[in-house]
């Protein structure tokens, strides 16, 4: 019953996702992905990264919820709350926070930087060395990119991974994820 309830709760987003898949199939070589679908996909991806990332000991206790912080404002940021509804990652409930750019919450596990240009770079600089998976979107043209950086290739949402940045934040990225990355910048 619980399972069913959860399924029902997820239906909306999943329907969107399925529609996105089907549409993407249909439109692969016809025309670009519909922007709204693209944002929804990116919003979903945020919590999906969690299983492929290993946080340093103590940073992600079994009792803790997965905390996704969204700083800034872009079409993706607006959809994150919607995307995680009813979802869980690694058995943890997911919590979405929207802290201010100046004081990102210390509990953040995943930080989506919806800032543009230098603002993004300074925020990234601020969380450097902390166990946070930083995610940026190339569409926001940030001056610096996070550990994960969304890009759109062949009308599909892909991502780049910066291993050096991950290492600085003491995170280990699963090779499975690396295999999917459109580009992996190597460790120093």
């Amino acid at each position: 019953m619980r399972r069913k309830a959860r399924t029902v709760a997820a239906v909306r987003l999943l329907l969107v996702a399925i529609a996105a898949c089907l549409l993407s199939l249909a439109a692969t070589h016809a025309r670009a992905q519909t922007p709204s679908v693209e944002y929804a996909v990116k919003a979903t991806y945020l919590y999906k990264f969690a299983p492929f990332v290993e946080w340093p000991a103590g940073a992600f206790e079994p009792s803790d919820p997965l905390v996704i912080c969204v700083v800034g404002n872009d079409p993706v940021a607006d959809l994150v709350d919607e995307a995680v509804k009813g979802q869980a990652a690694l058995g943890h409930p997911i919590e979405v926070m929207h802290p201010g750019a100046s004081s990102p919450d210390a509990r953040c596990h995943i930080l989506y930087v919806a800032l543009r240009g230098a603002a993004a770079a300074s925020l990234l600089e601020r969380v450097r060395g902390k166990p946070v998976l930083t995610v940026t979107d190339a569409a926001n043209e940030p001056r610096a990119t996070g550990i994960v950086n969304f890009v759109v290739q062949d009308n599909r949402v892909r991502f780049e991974i910066d291993l050096r940045a991950a290492a600085e934040n003491h995170l280990v990225i699963s090779s499975k994820l690396l295999n999917l990355a459109s580009r992996v910048s190597p460790k120093p």
């Binding site: 399925i18 299983p51 492929f52 990652a89 690694l90 499975k176 994820l177 999917l180």
Partner: protein, 612 residues
């Protein structure tokens, strides 16, 4: 022989058991082998399936693990690459990845025919036949991301059975060996059986052959005997003839000397007389040799043997001495014979001397004469002419002769007597003289009982005399089938002869070889009217004792005796009562017909018998 047959039987029994046992063992062996083979194959098959399932499950888990990110981030290209990587394994028919909702995400199919479920349900299809389907949920962390679907072929049955081919080959070969063993065993048994049957046939054939050889040997022995006598006659004859002439010269010369009285003195006369006596003795011996060789000059004249025997009685009495009584039984109306009277007297004297020698404690000598007829069959086996003969039988109650002596008794120089007592020329003279006179001599003898020697001389037919055949002239009296005759005779040939004659005459005939068998036959067939028995029978019961016992059981039984001995000899020796019915061997067809008929008609046969 008995031992051999036993082992043969034993082999047979063993062979039988082996024959019954082997096919069972072979079949059981083959069955066991097949069973073992099947079990091994099934076991291998089972372990193969398990291993295969584990392998595919491992492949499936690996795919599920690697494809998780692609599923999570909706990267169909990557997912497809992973799925395609499995194509390296030629047994993977289909590999597919389904999304969390069960929708197809990425797939690979080796061939177009392979049906792929458009949606995957939680309950994965179970492996069937040569297909093995494995589904594995894709998870990253706890989150279910989708399902991996793998469909592989298990090695085709043919491929798998190739692996079992060696085993199958071994099993087949072993089975074949068992079967061949069984077949070989069976054939061996059959061959043995054939061999044994052939062996039996061979034994039978051998038995027949042996009987034939025996028969031939008997015939050849008889012939050899005749030929030997012939050869001996030739040999002794040649020497004796020359010797005789030389003795004539010696004796003649000595006589010339005796006549010239002035030349010699008394002393010389006595010496010459001694030489003459010696030469005359030598001449007598030579005469006997010539007699055996049938070369003595004979002076045959028609003679009456009764008269001759009577004339010799004085001489015989002197020769035989006090302890031996002499009986002469002379048939009335005896035919004349054409023979040398002196030589016949010599022959009878020789027989008398032998009889005396055989009866050193005294006894009885019987001389009988009779008119007889020797028939074709008897004449043929003894190489004489059939027809009418005058019989002179000389019998004694002496020691008799064993078979080996009897067979040689006629040979010249054969003697069982001490040197100086016997010359071995007595019976040879008898034989030679009788043969030269175209007659026939025959010895019947039983050790301990006595001996009869029969001389047959052909009847003399003067041209003026009518050729009358009294026995056959009156026609032969036929028998009747209700007249059952029991023939008791130990000599199979004689028995067969008698049975043959009686059968031909129309009598019903039973036969027995000795007294015991005869009594059994009498008990079994109360209808027996006449007992026709040999006097001398083996087995403790002689003819007379048999007749007495038979008469005690059936008082009305008629009895006719037969014997090789002369009738009167037997009667006078007290072996039979006078007046019994007796026919002497050899008897002719006509004689037996007449005699048996006479006995049945209650006529006193003794008169007739004495005439024989």
């Amino acid at each position: 022989m008995i031992q051999e047959r036993r082992t043969e039987e034993l082999h047979g029994v063993l062979g039988m058991e082996r024959r019954n046992f082997m096919p069972f063992v072979a079949a059981a062996g083959v069955l066991l082998l097949l069973l073992a083979g099947a079990v091994i194959v099934l076991y291998n098959e089972q372990t193969y399936r398990e291993a295969k399932t584990q392998q595919v499950e491992a492949q499936s888990r690996i795919l599920a693990s690697t494809v998780s990110a692609a599923l999570a981030f909706d990267d169909r290209k990557a997912a497809h690459e992973y799925v395609k990587a499995l194509a390296v394994d030629p047994q993977i028919q289909t590999a597919a990845v389904y999304g969390p909702q069960g929708q197809l995400f990425a797939s690979y199919s080796r061939s177009a025919d392979v049906a792929l479920p458009a949606k995957i349900s939680e309950a994965a299809p179970t492996p069937t036949g040569e297909q093995l389907v494995v589904t594995t949920p894709v998870r990253q962390g706890m989150a279910p991301l989708g399902t991996v679907y793998l469909q592989t072929t298990i090695d085709p049955i043919s491929r798998r059975f190739e692996r079992y081919a060696v085993l199958a080959l071994l099993v087949t070969m072993a089975s074949l060996i068992f079967v061949m063993l069984g077949v070989a065993q069976r054939q061996l048994a059959a061959a043995n059986e054939r061999l044994r049957r052939q062996g039996h046939d061979l034994v039978d054939a051998n038995e027949k052959l042996r009987a034939q050889i025996e028969q031939r040997e008997t015939a050849e022995a008889a012939l050899r005997q005749v030929q030997k006598m012939e050869a001996m006659g030739q040999l002794t004859g040649g020497i004796a003839h020359d010797f005789n002439n030389l003795l004539q010269v010696i004796i003649g010369s000595l006589e010339v000397l005796q006549r010239r009285q002035q030349v010699v003195g008394d002393d010389a006369k006595r010496t010459i007389a001694a030489a003459v006596r010696g030469a005359e003795r030598a001449a007598t011996l030579t005469q006997r040799l010539l007699a055996f060789a049938r070369r003595q000059p004979l002076n045959p004249k028609p003679i009456d043997v009764n008269k001759l025997v009577t004339g010799m009685s004085e001489l015989l009495h002197r020769t035989l001495g006090e302890s031996i009584t002499i009986e002469t039984v002379l048939a009335g109306g005896i035919w004349r014979v054409n023979a040398d009277a002196n030589q016949l007297e010599n022959a009878l004297l020789n027989l008398a001397v032998n009889a005396r020698d055989a009866m050193d404690k005294g006894g009885k000598l019987t001389i009988e004469t009779a008119n007889t007829h020797l028939d074709e069959a008897y004449a043929h086996t003894n190489e004489i002419d059939p027809g009418q003969y005058v019989l002179i039988a000389v019998s004694d109650t002496g020691a008799g002769m064993p078979g080996d002596v009897l067979s040689k008794a006629f040979e010249p120089f054969f003697t069982t007597k001490d040197v100086g007592k016997g010359s071995g020329l007595g019976l040879s003279q008898v034989y030679g003289f009788i043969k030269q006179s175209e007659g026939h001599a025959k010895i019947y003898s039983e050790p301990g009982e006595g001996t009869t020697i029969k001389l047959y001389l052909p009847r003399f037919m003067a041209s003026s005399e009518a050729t009358d055949l009294p026995l056959e002239a009156c026609g032969l009296p036929a028998g009747q089938s209700d007249r059952l005759v029991l023939v008791v005779e130990d000599d199979a040939d004689v028995r067969a002869h008698a049975v043959g004659i009686l059968n031909e005459l129309g009598y019903s005939v039973l036969e027995a070889a000795d007294g015991a068998a005869a009594l059994q036959a009498l008990d079994a067939h109360p209808g027996i009217k006449l007992l026709f028995t040999d006097v001398g029978l083996p087995g403790g019961l002689n003819g007379r004792q048999l007749a007495d016992e038979a008469r005690r059981r059936c008082p009305n039984l008629l009895v006719l005796y037969t014997t090789g001995y002369a009738r009167n000899a037997i009667v006078h020796q007290g072996r039979l009562d006078p007046g019994v019915d007796l026919i002497t061997k050899p008897f002719t067809f006509a004689a037996l017909a007449t005699k048996v008929n006479a006995v049945f008609d209650g006529r006193e046969g003794s008169h007739r018998a004495s005439a024989l």
